[in-house]
Symmetry: C2
Subunit: 274 residues, 2 copies
DNA sequence: ACGATTTTGTGCATGTGTTCACAAGTGGAT
DNA sequence: ATCCACTTGTGAACACATGCACAAAATCGT
């Protein structure tokens, strides 16, 4: 698990489709990989992928609590604020160590510190945004990133009219400069907000510039070398998943309630919560 | 409801913190699908959540292939284009039926049609965007949604200066009108792009307007009634997950390679403190 | 000092998702 | 007609994730 090396012996590229960074990695028990079946040593290194995502959420909730002046928090409180059940929360926290006090709870500061350490947030990660269109502008101007340790340190586009123009206080560079500028400024995360057709080429340049983490907004599956991590944000897919659930609900209703369904604006049970 | 005891929390509300990430998992799914005990009478109605997300990706790839003139495709081709392994692809497709021909592959049109049917894309889903700021503008102007069956049919904001202003060809309404307008226009999906502090209130109004599917961009955990489906897109979380992997890589390198590390253009190991 | 009370941390059972591997079809060649 | 190369569809094994339930540790009240 920890040492997930070789994927298919094929080319030096793996394809990355979002949600499952580790998912597509076929174990392919051929390579050297871990000789030992049971990884006895250094096991603390593997935190379930799903748990990592939730840790980020806990961190946000904890930060908010800290701002409110809270000093300690129980797993029950924290979990309900984070929208998970308390057993899951405790298990997630147990992956990063034992920082709670039985009978009392967790100290907010300590937890914040430990989660930050685990997520590698103890230092900044320079971010580059490529494709300064509608979405790119929004991202470049968004204040939430720098505040959380992700300063936007480079902007790129092909559009000559945009080159040199400051967006969010930073001048746009030409995409040909991606490798150079990324290396110079120590960019560690590249964000792709170009049209789909340009995304792969842009990604290749980012990789050439030493970027090993990519967040992709373009609706395409990027091919990247082994060591590069890609996550995608695909709004069309999100909407389609919601659509699926709408359809499922409709089917279920139809089944359990074959008659009487005047397509009415079922707005009657308005249950605006307190 | 399957008498889920212990499910603490409010009365008719569940909190929603789902995402694209691997495990994701809308907890609601299990409750809705098979309320009754393990009776083998169970219909094959339930498609794994993760598979649904991938079906959307396959659909996009297939559509592109169809445009290129392809008429048939094998699981091997399609899976490599979609960035998954072929067994997974075939299993995913098997959830929606048997539409392939052994020894040949799948007919592209048929597959497109079946996936669309499964995802409920045979008719349009009206979308409302709330919070017409940086992100809201980008969403309202984005051409990719209407083209895929998700016409943006309503826009809302609190800002008086925005009310009535056309954005992407549609006038902005005041948020007080959310329940009314959503019901009138048959909105089925609400997109929240407001500041975090406003998100819950906005969500409540969407629900009051009959919206049962919400896509949330605000970094907060929304509380919604049972029957409402929420998906979130949290960019800060995405970046933090990438950060985690950067950190893990750094740790691993350090471990397996204690000394000597000067080949790269010093792109890794950004040590700016914070 | 000690039991009542609270809350963590985790072993275990359960559930979900992924991968393997191969029998069963299909079309084309001989 | 028979064989062969190819590809699907799926049972079964495995891997990962979740939730339960309770022992262990801490605090508080008496
Ligand atoms: N806008 C949205 O709400 C939205 C929603 C979902 C997905 N997306 C996706 O995000 C991406 C960007 O969307 P957008 O609405 O900002 O598009 P946009 O057309 O507004 O902006 C695209 C930008 O990319 C630049 N560009 C074009 N080719 C380039 C290249 N080769 N290298 C670098 N830059 C290049 C263009 O000059 C432009 O500035 C698209 O892939 C789109 O599908 C956008
Ligand atoms: N811009 C980004 O790139 C980005 C990235 C990640 C997350 N987000 C999140 O998306 C959301 C929107 O971001 P943004 O950059 O567009 O913010 P923004 O400030 O540009 O826009 C927010 C809009 O919401 C409106 N608004 C405020 N209160 C409202 C209310 N009660 N009801 C309805 N509308 C209200 C404001 O008038 C404004 O038009 C935020 O929650 C932000 O955290 C944005």
């Amino acid at each position: 698990m920890a040492a997930q090396r070789g994927q298919r012996g094929g080319p030096g590229r793996k394809s990355a489709e979002s949600a499952a960074p580790v998912g597509s990695g076929a174990p392919a028990a051929s390579e050297v990989t871990t000789p030992m079946p049971a990884v006895d040593e250094q096991r603390a290194r593997s935190i379930p992928e799903a748990a990592v995502a939730r840790l980020a959420v806990y961190l946000r909730v904890l930060s908010a609590m800290a701002e409110q002046g809270a000093t300690t928090v129980s797993s029950e409180e924290l979990s309900s604020s984070a929208g998970v059940n308390s057993a899951k929360l405790r298990k997630d926290l147990s992956y990063i160590g034992s920082y709670g006090t039985r009978g009392v709870g967790y100290e907010v500061d300590v937890l914040v510190g430990q989660i930050e350490r685990t997520l590698g947030l103890t230092h900044n990660h320079q971010v580059a945004v490529v494709g300064i269109g509608n979405l790119g502008h929004a991202l470049a101007n968004y204040g939430g990133f720098p505040g959380r340790g992700f300063p936007v340190a480079a902007l790129f586009d092909v559009d000559e009219d945009l080159i040199g123009v400051p967006v969010g206080g930073l001048a746009v560079n030409h995409i040909d400069e991606i490798p150079l500028v990324c290396a110079q400024r120590g960019i560690s995360i590249g964000v792709i907000a170009t049209p789909p057709a340009a995304a792969q080429a842009v990604c290749d340049r980012l990789v050439a510039g030493g970027v090993e983490s990519v967040l992709n907004f373009a609706p395409v599956v990027l091919q990247v070398p082994e060591h590069v991590e890609v996550r995608k944000v695909d709004l069309a897919v999100e909407l389609q998943i919601l659509s699926f659930h709408v359809a499922r609900r409709a089917d279920d209703d139809e089944e359990t309630e074959p008659a009487a369904n005047g397509q009415a604006k079922g707005v009657d049970r308005v249950v605006i919560g307190r």
